[in-house]
Symmetry: C2
Subunit: 257 residues, 2 copies
DNA sequence: CAAATAGTGTCTTTTAGACATTATTAA
DNA sequence: TTAATAATGTCTAAAAGACACTATTTG
């Protein structure tokens, strides 16, 4: 972005909706840990979930997808709106100032720029397969990287709560819909998906009961291949039955643990 | 509102947030029928759910409560945010025009007034006890009244979908949280709450299993009084155990039927 | 053969679901 | 006494939950 564009952006930009924006909590799973993609809007010690403004020409769903694409490089991800947040003070708590932006961009941002206004945030979460994501920071951000959900850095505004609520929504969701397709590699082992469920739910699940019930849904298929994991018995590989998975997303699957 | 206030309202009003508003689907239960409070913004054949703009000084929850209070006269109702709606065209479909407003208020409303803009709606539903509500139309509305959920009039914008989604959310909610406290009179009979559940869920529930499971939650208390209902056996009256009810709202109650 | 991890079945308890008879009230 | 509605318990089937041993792999 050129300086004049940045100027235009902060002044009387008419491309985006005022007073409403989208936040998107992007989850990834890696090494038995649930991670969330955070961005650092200013080179300070505070982070936010990924998010952005809504174009006048797009729906809120399109805005959420666009934001996920910009930060991950991936399209067609599974995403879900879970709640909206709106209090007059939510943008004020320890946030961005005109001085910070001046420092970052070299542009004088008016103290009364629309971006400092009261914003209602429509929040989504998005599921991604960690290894496919190339975290990409925006032009006005200092950084963008994965953080373990269990060890978040200091969060700006109400974003710690947004992550907590997203996780709550994901945990609720996992009992009713098939999760895992977007978080695992195409072929995975039973112990892998077992760990994923344990990680998301934050509790251990009996391995025998877990596989019994997961297999009973019919959404995963056992392959005639195994994965070599060193000096141990080789676990079988599985993949999702795409058709049953899609149907499960529509009509639901009972998988409460 | 005086004409100059109305003028101010439609022109450069700075009291409310732009591009975001609240819709509140107010449910009431009466004579074994679930009803929804609708308003008619223009004296035509189209209705909307109750809703309004968000003041710069209030949270979205406060806006939803305020709207419910304005339309019902009741404060402290149970309400729940369930989804946000936002597509660039949602305000355009068969809606309000400047001409309609001129006709209603006598004031010239600019074609480019902020109220015709793309609005993201944060939607809530609210539960009310029908008999306590005095439906009150707003100054800029033509009418406000109850409609059976099963026989809605022609709805403006995407409001038929908003009601459908609210009902879906209520049905999901009823399986996890105690519902009924806000919809029934203080003292009620088992057949009454049984009918309420059947109405909300849209299916019949075995009376023996229903009472067994409802009583097992402990959230209602049998009183030593009966209700006279004419030439029939008098049913016992019950009331909610306020403490257990509050706790159920917080930590959930399993009541899937 | 030792160490690590995968894979699998049975029994018990709990919950859900189907189902029918007796009791009360007032005309 | 009849017509209407309320109240209530048992049996069966299905699901959830607890639990432990055998199999495979490589060093």
């Amino acid at each position: 972005m050129e300086n004049e564009d940045i100027n235009e952006f902060f002044n009387n930009n008419n491309q985006f909706l005022r007073n409403v924006a989208v936040d998107n909590v992007i989850f990834g799973y890696h090494e038995k840990e649930l991670k969330v993609l955070l961005q650092q809007p200013i080179p300070l010690d505070k982070w936010t979930v990924t998010g952005g403004y809504i174009k006048r020409t797009e729906s809120i769903d399109e805005a959420a997808s666009r934001i996920a694409f910009q930060r991950t490089g991936l399209a067609g991800l599974f995403f879900q709106q879970f709640r909206s947040f709106g209090t007059p003070t939510r943008g004020k708590d320890g946030g961005l100032t005109a001085a910070h932006l001046k420092e970052m961009t070299g542009v004088d941002v008016p103290e009364d720029s629309w971006i400092f206004d009261y914003f209602v945030s429509v929040a989504f979460y998005t599921l991604t397969e960690f290894s496919k994501v190339a975290p990409t920071k925006g032009e006005l951000e200092a950084d963008c990287q994965w953080w373990p959900v269990s060890e978040l850095p200091p969060m700006m505004f109400d974003h710690a709560m947004i992550v907590a609520e997203a996780l709550k929504a994901l945990r609720l969701h996992i009992a009713h819909y098939p999760i895992g397709y977007e978080l695992l590699e195409e072929k995975f082992t039973l112990p892998e998906i077992h760990s994923l469920y344990e990680t998301i739910l934050g509790k251990s699940l009996d391995d025998r009961n877990f596989s019994k019930r997961l297999m009973a849904t019919g959404i995963i298929i056992k392959l005639n291949e195994t994965k070599k994991i060193g000096a141990h018995r080789s676990p079988f590989l599985y993949k999702f039955d795409k058709e049953k998975y899609e149907e499960g997303l529509k009509s639901g699957v009972a998988l409460a643990f």
